[in-house]
Amino acid sequence: MAGSILSCKGLTKEFGRVKALNSLEFNLQANGLFCLLGLNGAGKTTLIKCLLGLIKPSSGEIYFRGKPLKQQDVQAHFSYLPESFQLYRELTAVELLMILSLGLGKKFVKTQDALELVGLSDKADRKIKTYSRGMIQRLGLAVCLIKKPQIVFLDDPFLGLDIMGQIAMIEVIKKLKNQDQTVLFSSHILSQVERIADSVGIIDNGSMLFCGSTREFLSKNSASSLEAAFLKEVTSK
């Protein structure tokens, strides 16, 4: 581990009378796979959106490498893959990557590498509207990779994918880890999370119940599986 890359203190987000995030404290270590776990409506997506500046927190601070996070940091160092998102349907994958790499100031060769990494180089000339859900997710990840981000945010990357799609996605996420990138992802598929996550954060009702290594989490709850530990953590609160 290479120290904290992203942290937040007292992060609160209110939507009217509803507190989606409640004085949340959180610390993300560099170069690892961190998974946010929580029930539906726990605040995972709201937290990710706050970290990306898509929504403004009601109060609290966010730090990137020890300094207050600026919107320029998000565009320069972060990449985000929302859950069940779509891309420009009438373009081919190679066109999309070429145009975006022009905007991001990267060379075309990087787009080829990115397509190779996500296993789509043989389907690069097909229109995106012909892609399956899993292929769109992987293409989105290729876009994320062309700017070599320091942190990749993946919101429920396995949602709507069949088992083959999930396996392909896991392989790509593992490759990111091997390239010394920090990945923050949320998921409901605990069996997959257990296989790849170095650390986990458990959110419930907008508060972080636990934030630490997966091993610590299992031993804290005296459980042999992530599912059992998660259920214990959430129900014992």
């Binding site: 959106k49 990306l52 898509l54 929504i55 403004k56 919107q71 320029q72 998000v74 565009q75 972060f78 990449s79 985000y80 893959l81 929302p82 859950e83 069940s84 998102f85 779509q86 891309l87 420009y88 349907r89 009438e90 373009l91 066109e95 999309l96 145009i99 975006l100 022009l102 905007g103 991001l104 100031g105 989105g140 876009v143 994320c144 700017k147 945010f153």
Partner: protein, 253 residues
């Protein structure tokens, strides 16, 4: 700038490859056919009829294409979370600028295509005049202003329907505002005059961008006119762009 160019290309390619674009082209070809037959039927008046109906057809189809495509794609990108995805790579002003430039380019592309088709019909009927080119230029300015209005209203409203119909309302209101001002001038209610005058200056002054009668009756307009209307349209679009960017910066995605 590189990011804006990249976004412009994305919006242009997506917009011109959609079914809607080709549907409007098909609709315009139908209008051209009707124009052609109207020209045949209007014995002695075929030239003004061909010119006037063709220009009206281009304007209506261009406004429908640009407004519906921009508004629909803006909300589709938001609903399908594409906006969230893009905003992790590009700033909000880049997003708005790219979208506006992309649709201004689509407008230019469509009006050029439609203008060529219309010119062909005019040539076949011996009604062509080089007045067609400045007429298409002014028409492009009009549709560009409406495109910018559609962008502002898309940023402002939470629903597709509201943004779409509000834009059409602004378009129609700006087309009739001059006549409304004339009617109010003869009204007994004195307080109405400054109100309508304010509304008239706030809305795009489309009456100043209407050169249909000059084209139809071959009355050439001086270069000074085109300079002024060009400047007016650029300033108006820049103001709307600034407003759209401001609203979008404040918006939670």
């Amino acid at each position: 700038m590189r990011k804006i160019i990249s976004f412009t290309i994305l919006n242009f390619l997506q917009g011109t490859r959609e079914k809607l674009f080709w549907l409007v082209i098909f609709f315009f070809v139908f209008i051209l056919g009707v124009t052609f037959f109207m020209g045949l039927l209007s014995v002695g008046e075929s030239v003004p009829v061909l010119r006037s109906s063709g220009l009206t057809g281009i304007e209506i189809s261009a406004v429908m294409l640009l407004v519906s495509s921009l508004v629909f794609n803006f909300y589709r990108e938001k609903d399908s979370r594409l906006t969230e995805f893009l905003l992790s790579h590009f700033s909000r002003p880049d997003y708005i600028s790219g979208k506006l430039c992309g649709y201004l380019l689509i407008g230019l592309f469509y009006i050029t295509l439609a203008g060529l088709g219309w010119s062909l019909v005019l040539v076949l009927n011996g009604a062509f005049s080089f007045q067609v080119i400045p007429a298409l230029f002014v028409l492009y300015l009009k549709t560009s202003i409406i495109t910018a209005v559609a962008l502002v209203l898309s940023c402002l409203f939470g629903s597709y329907t509201m943004a779409f119909f509000s834009t059409l309302f602004v378009y129609i209101a700006s087309e009739v505002s001059r006549d409304a001002l004339k009617i109010v001038a003869s009204s007994q209610l004195t307080w109405l005059k400054p109100v309508f005058k304010g509304i008239y200056y706030l809305l795009p002054n489309m009456d100043k961008l209407d050169i249909k009668s000059a084209v139809v009756f071959d009355n050439p307009l001086g270069p000074g006119y085109f300079g002024w209307v060009g400047l007016y349209a650029v300033i108006y679009i820049l103001l709307l762009w600034a407003l759209a960017t401001y609203i979008f910066l404040k918006k939670e995605i």
